[in-house]
Each structure stands twice: as C-alpha cells, then as structure tokens.
Symmetry: C2
Subunit: 133 residues, 2 copies
DNA sequence: CTAGGTACTAGAGCGCGCTCTAGGTCAAGG
DNA sequence: CCTTGACCTAGAGCGCGCTCTAGTACCTAG
C-alpha cells in the first residue's frame, strides 16, 4: 500500500501529474482512499504507471493512453481492440524512428561540413548572412 | 522571387507560421518587402526552411533554431559555436532514437502477449480491470 | 470601377500536458 | 495541544508552437 508521494517517487511523476492522470481516467481502476481521504495505491498501479511512462516517452498522446485504459477497465472481451491500438502505436514509433534516422543523416552532413570548415578555414558549404546555400 | 503563399506551399508551413518564424527571428536575413509591403522571399529562404523542418521534426526547439539562426546571421567567425550546437542536437537525436528503440521493445512485448491471448483465448499476461500484471 | 484573392500588422486564442495556487484536512512527533 | 508536513479538491496558469481574428491594404481580372 503506497501513498501518492511514494508513487511519485517510484514513477518519476509529480503528485500533481498523478492527480491529473486520475482525473483523466488513466488508471486501470478507481484508486481507493484511506479513511482520511488520501489515495492508497498498490504496486500494480506503479507497474502500470511505469508502462505509461514508456508509452508517453514514445510519443503516445494522453488520449490514446486514456482509450487503452478505458478498454482494460471495461474488462475482458476487447483484447482485439487493445491489440489494434498497441499495433497502431508500434507502427507510429517505427515511423518516428525512421524519420529521426533520416533527420540524423541531414544533421550529420551539416556537422561534417562545419567540421571541415572549422578545421581548414574554408567557407565551403556553410551559410553566409545572406544565404547562398 | 517568391510570395509568402508560394513559400508556404513549398515548405508545408502555413503563412501564419512563416510570419511567426520571422517575428521569432528564425530567418537568416531580413526578409525584404515589395513596394506594397509584401514579403519577397528567394529560393535560398525555402532551402533554409526545409532544413528547419528537418531540425524541428527531429525535436529541435524553436529556441535552439533561433540561436543557430542568430549565429549564422552574425556572420563568419563563430563556426565552432554553430558546430557545437549541431553536435549537441545530433547527440540529442541519437539519444531519442535509442530511447524510442527501448520503448519499441516494450511495446513489441505487449503486442506479442496480446497476439497470443487473442489467438489462443488464454488470459495470461494481459490486464484485468483490477490490475494483476 | 469593382470584386476576389492574397497579403499586411498586432495581438488574442488554442491544444497539449502538465504545474501551481488557494484554502483546507489529517496524522504523527515534541 | 500545537506544529509540521504530506495530502486533499477545484480550478487557474503556463510554456510551447503555432493558429486564428480583426481590421486594413494592395493587386489583378473582368
């Protein structure tokens, strides 16, 4: 049984963010309260939040996370929908990686141009104030 | 010589975004105006914007783009600084790709679990409304 | 001459994802 | 008791990156 502060600590999320996540319905269950009204989490909630962190870090919007949580909360029977959502996100992440790799190529080429310029004192390929390249 | 509409078309940026970029000082030069006060671009501006798109797509914040543009505008002599900025961004992009690949692994494993579940009708490894895994 | 389309400036507004404030409650230690 | 600190709710605010509005001007075709 964990307090909101402990969960924040364990997940890297702020207590504000945890309350926000709850308002948004991103948990897999209602988080129960203690007699004094404080949230009482359990380790499984932390595991779910850690997975959420991965999803978020990989660019999944809150709305999609919400939808996934909704599917899980609404019980068994919709696993194909959950799978479709996960596959969609997998596709999106692969696409993002591919884009980043293409962008990295461009950046690399600019880095190389500047390295040569800085090493040799030539101005080939770098920008002048009035763009010429 | 190009109008703002043509540049928007060529770069995929909106005319609003182009005016915003200009206010923010993201261009490599002052964009001149026609007699009637309309912006007059040249192809080199489009090239720069296309590179900006790459930078932005790879997660470079506007502030960093601004700084790079400032360095270029302030003329020759600061190439080592420009290089340092580019290398920093290159590092950030590589890190982001690595993170995404790690996230992708996790997503894959969830997809696999759901694929098995959906194929075989077992409930192993998927979430129940009250989280057990 | 006029209408339509495109552009202008200045500034407000928005969607996302939190983050923080205000005003209060609760539980434990001194 | 009383303070301290973690927590509560409801709701406002913020940083980013645009996006849109209002009100006006110009330019080309008919």
């Amino acid at each position: 049984m964990l307090s909101i502060g402990e969960v924040a600590e364990a997940t890297g999320l702020s207590v504000h963010a945890l309350r926000f996540f709850e308002r948004e319905g991103l948990f897999l269950r209602e988080i129960p309260r203690s007699s004094g009204g404080q949230r009482v989490y359990e380790p499984a909630d932390v595991e779910w939040l850690l997975l959420c962190n991965r999803f978020r870090a990989s660019g999944m919007p809150i709305a999609m996370l919400k939808e996934f949580a909704r599917l899980v909360r609404s019980g068994p029977g919709n696993e194909p929908e959950r799978l479709a959502l996960l596959r969609e996100h997998e596709r999106a992440v692969r696409a993002k990686i591919a884009d980043l790799e293409a962008d990295l190529e461009i950046i690399r080429s600019k880095v190389v141009v500047y390295e040569e310029h800085v090493r040799e004192g030539t101005a080939a390929g770098v920008w002048s104030p009035t763009p010429s390249r």
